[in-house]
Symmetry: C2
Subunit: 244 residues, 2 copies
């Protein structure tokens, strides 16, 4: 009998080198707000999303191609870019068939690390597309690394909670010898009845940061399960919606 594939949880990009990336599907998790916004934009018909790691790279691509440039710094649209990181900027009537170049810091860095380590496949995960991520992972029957983008390498609650949600849903399909995965699932089980309230009560650092920018509505969106239930997969430098 073939054993079930392995699932690991990596809570910070600084720990990614401990895991066997080249034999695994890597799920990039940047719940507030990059991977939630990516799911929403693709659900609403975006042709593709190009993640880049700096405002200047974003501006540069914007000059070369017919794309929308987007990104924020300190809660405001970055100078030289046109749109922000909020999912509410990308309704269907605006984003359909367009390409979005999005600059994020933590998530993009992690994605490029996974690429450099020759990940078997790279997808992005967030509560808005939780079921799509789980269905894909169960179907593929490959080893999995749930990779949290964290905040400048510091572990955060929201990405860990999403890893826990995935584990809670699909654990019977995987072999899990990973204390970080056990921690993430335990945390999620404690928080799942009201993820937003849990973040608030636990004084979560990125919750506080976004609240100070007046972004409560964004945070609430990012904890809504399956409201943008598509699967972003990284192919040829872009995130596109996987057609099953």
């Amino acid at each position: 009998m073939r054993s079930t594939p392995a699932l690991y949880t990596c809570l910070s990009p600084a720990l990614l080198q401990l895991y066997d990336v080249s034999t695994s599907i890597v799920v990039i998790i940047d719940v507030l707000r990059a991977t939630s916004t990516i799911a929403e934009a693709l659900k609403n018909g975006a042709k593709s999303i190009i993640p880049v790691d700096s405002v200047s790279a974003c501006i540069s691509l914007g000059k070369q191609m017919d794309v929308i440039t987007a990104g924020e710094r300190d809660g405001k649209i970055a100078e030289g870019l046109t749109y922000g990181n909020t999912p509410f900027h990308y309704p269907p009537e605006f984003i359909k068939d367009k390409t979005l170049v999005l600059t994020t810091t933590n998530g993009t860095k992690l994605l490029h690390m996974a690429l450099a380590e020759n990940a078997k496949a790279i997808i992005t995960g967030s509560f808005p597309n939780l079921s799509a991520v789980c269905d894909y992972l169960v179907r593929e029957k490959q080893n999995v690394i749930l990779a949290c983008a964290a905040w400048k390498d510091r572990i955060n609650l929201e990405d860990t909670l999403f890893a826990g949600a995935v584990i809670s849903k699909i654990k019977e399909h995987f072999t899990i010898n990973c204390d970080a995965a056990q921690m993430a699932e335990t945390l999620y089980e404690k928080a799942k009845d009201d993820l937003y309230e849990f973040m608030k009560n636990k004084n979560a650092s990125h919750y506080n940061r976004l609240m100070s920018f007046g972004l409560e509505k964004d945070i609430r969106f990012c904890f809504e399960v399956d409201i943008a239930n598509v699967l972003p997969v990284y192919q040829d430098g872009r995130l596109v919606k996987l057609i099953w």
Copy 2:
């Protein structure tokens, strides 16, 4: 009004550089079994404990000084050394007034990292000396980093649980803007009624490793709160019992 000092939790040595070590007391946490055994040996009258990072360094010191050399590899006393990592090797009638040279991997590495970063003070923590650690931290009124030794940089449950236990007891004396600390405390609150059973039920990796060596008795010892309630503090290359 002076604000309360800051408390952070660092879940892996690979993340230590993210924290401001030079302004903090660093608590080295290596629950299974290094810091538990250190507390027990000092409680039983050991004069001091010299932590070293290799079997060869341990043997070398043993030739130069009148000391007891100890350390294990794969659950057995390492070749060339005399005693093991188990707390049961160090009763008062044996260890009183002696110096122990102990080789451990994860804990010693982390201690040396904290030294290199000029930590304000370095102490060691484990469930057997939980209250001594908490009393000291509250009394000192300095910033604190709860530093988990982990397992080859991978986050583990037992060290995280101990960090959570400390936070649960002393959080009102500190400012905590640290998601890892919130996670550790949440985990501890879930586990505290039976730490041993929690480790077993969660398939904790180091629990499994030690059980495979027949060391259940050691694991149970390491989750006993305050049975070796002394404070090991690092001074001039040695861990000694702090006299208040």
